[in-house]
């Protein structure tokens, strides 16, 4: 049993909630999402984000649109859909329940 694996698994499950929450504030460019996630140490390597974004998009929780950029080619901005919003709310309440349950379980 590797500690690093367990840690990564714990984070992975909650990453969806984080990404949906970050994007629900405003539409976002992947690099901005990355910066937020890195600041909160939710992801270690950036590569993990892109398959996740794609999966959320395929599930209709996210969509994207193209925007002109001052420097370089047009940028892809991700935004949350209505389905995504209710999905996020569900995850959020599950997280709250889980947080309480865990606090109770591991209290000494």
């Amino acid at each position: 049993m590797k500690l690093e694996n367990t840690k990564a698994q714990m984070k992975k499950g909650l990453l969806e909630l984080c990404v949906l929450s970050i994007i629900s504030e405003k539409e976002m460019y992947p690099s901005d999402i990355i910066n937020q996630l890195k600041k909160s140490k939710m992801i270690v390597v950036e590569g993990t984000l892109y398959p996740l974004l794609n999966r959320l998009m395929k599930a209709d929780l996210l969509s994207y649109s193209w925007k002109e950029s001052k420097s370089g080619p047009p940028r892809k901005y991700y935004q949350i859909t209505d389905t995504g919003k209710s999905f996020r709310d569900e995850l959020m309440s599950t997280w709250e329940d889980l947080k309480n349950a865990i606090t109770l379980s591991i209290k000494k």
Binding site: I34, G47, Y50, N54, G72, P73
Partner: protein, 209 residues
């Protein structure tokens, strides 16, 4: 002296050393291969290439040519392809490929385990899902008497292969071929042999007594 290559990455132009170009190409190909099975491969690859281009751009203050060292820095930020694994997606894909790989169609065989002449009737019964082969046997007898003769039976005897292996027998009944079902078949066979041995030893005992 080193040769450089001009590349277009994520819609931006870069100058890259030849060795770094080889390494970058390998890196991108490994990502492409990793996501080849998911239908969002192009989107994922686009996002990743775009991000790599951005990271190179940010690093341009350290010289405008992309070197192996610069590439290694970017690779450290992006992570190796093994780290890209999106667990949930992977699980879903794994399950669906397992299901599709082993589903086989029903095939027509002669059943040597349950035969009167050549197992044609029992094989056909298994194929069409008729519970008891006696119905087809009577039909063949009626055909033979009614003047059509035994030719249809003979033709089927010649044309339809005999179920020889466990997987043939499973395909005959249209059961899925996987380790479990083959193991079940083998077990059934072993039990039959065991029963026969028990019967045989009973017979012997009777004779001795």
């Amino acid at each position: 002296m080193k040769k450089v290559i001009n590349i277009n990455l994520g819609g931006r132009a870069f100058i890259i050393n030849e060795d770094a170009y080889g390494a970058l190409d390998k890196y991108l190909k490994s990502i492409e291969k990793h996501f080849a099975k998911s239908d969002g491969m192009e989107d994922i690859l686009y996002d990743i290439e775009n991000r790599i281009a951005e990271l190179f751009e940010e690093d341009e203050k350290n010289g405008s040519i992309i070197t192996l060292e610069k590439l290694d820095k970017v690779k450290a930020v992006m992570g190796q392809v093994e780290d890209f694994q999106d667990e949930l997606e992977f699980e879903e894909e794994k399950i669906s490929t397992i299901e599709s790989e082993y589903r086989t169609g029903k095939r027509l065989f002669r059943d040597p385990d349950d035969s009167v002449i050549a197992g044609v009737a029992s094989g056909l019964s298994a194929y069409f899902g008729i519970h008891d082969p006696i119905i087809l046997r009577i039909l063949f007898v009626i055909l033979a008497i009614s003047g059509i003769g035994v030719l249809p039976y003979i033709i089927l005897w010649i044309a339809v292969p005999e179920a020889k292996t466990s997987s043939d027998r499973l395909a005959m009944r249209g059961e899925d071929i996987n380790i479990n079902s083959i193991a079940n078949k083998v077990e059934e066979g072993l039990n039959e042999i065991k029963d026969k041995i028990v019967d045989l030893s009973k017979d012997l005992k009777m004779k001795v007594l």
